[in-house]
Symmetry: C2
């Protein structure tokens, strides 16, 4: 099973992290974004959105990190991480949306600007971070994990860009519960890091 | 089952639309965002994120439109709309992420600025729209529906803000396949509109 990957992408790391935690073997295919490889054939034919990660598992071809997480959990025995019950799936799904929306627009965009020079709005990225991180801090001061009292896909989706936010000037200094949660994730059996985490 | 709702919110409309399409009865509880009702008790106690929609179904309490869609489909017999199989779930999930990310940051933000006076970056919202709509146009010129060859939760999540984009200056004039898809959705049994759609 191939993961089209970039080492420094937090979205790719979401998939690498989950695969490591549940013991799925991935063949990593590096895509050189700096050289524009994602905007050319053959990559653009796999994913017209010109984004990593992309998963290729036999006939299955998926873009989007959250979609790949859901597929992998359901296909390869990760029911603890992406449960069947309607309400449990809804609870985890809340955090997958938060990852695709606020975490993306906040810490991720701040990092894209500072680390990769993207011409995006830094003040806006910091404002989104300042709105969302206290909400997550409050949640984690009352819960050990994002949802269901245990690690789920919510951790894999939300953790990477929060842990990488310092590369965009988004400090976790005011958020002890988030920092403790990060340490709990790092202590999970099978945990793998990426540069900056 | 209560939906804390605002009539002009496309995110709330996603839920009202799906409920209408599959015949789920919702008790709508209007939240007056203009008066700041979402930032005060009792609403803020239900959802500290201060956002609509919120679903209350007995003991179940969920924020986030995509999470509510997944819960409702799984709980109330919408398996056609949110299937069990790993790859089918992954394929629909791609579009739920697109709704939470690009559709949110593009047509939705453009509309928030023009219609509600939010102090956000209009040029950026239009740029995101100009990137994502041609990709969706291309997809819909090859497929009748977002995923699986039939209407799924992907339609309920992606359609509202694309159809409302004109209120933010995002025209669909260059996108005949998107316009034809919108007409197919409007022809679905049970379809309900909202102001602007």
């Amino acid at each position: 099973m191939k993961l089209y990957d970039m080492e420094l992408s937090g979205n790719c790391y979401k998939v690498r992290l989950f695969a490591a935690l549940v013991g799925i073997e991935l063949e990593l295919v590096p895509v050189d974004l700096a050289a524009g490889e994602h905007k050319q054939s053959p990559f653009i034919d796999l994913n017209p959105w010109a984004q990593v990660p992309v998963l290729e598992d036999g006939e299955v071809l998926l873009r989007d990190s959250q979609a790949i997480l859901v597929y992998l959990a359901r296909q390869y025995g990760g029911h603890q991480w992406w449960p069947d019950s309607p309400v449990h799936q809804g609870e985890v799904m809340q955090w997958l949306s938060t990852a695709a929306n606020e975490i993306h627009a906040g810490p991720n965009v701040a990092r894209l600007i500072d680390k990769f020079g993207y011409p995006l709005d830094k003040a806006r990225a910091l404002a989104v971070s300042d709105r969302v991180l206290p909400l997550i801090e409050r949640h984690l001061s009352e819960h050990r994990w994002m949802a269901l009292g245990r690690p789920t896909l919510a951790e894999c989706a939300v953790f990477p860009y929060i842990a990488l936010g310092w590369e965009g000037g988004v400090t976790l200094e005011p958020y002890p519960a988030i920092r403790a949660w990060i340490e709990r994730i790092k202590a999970l059996p099978g945990f793998v890091a990426m540069p900056g985490v």
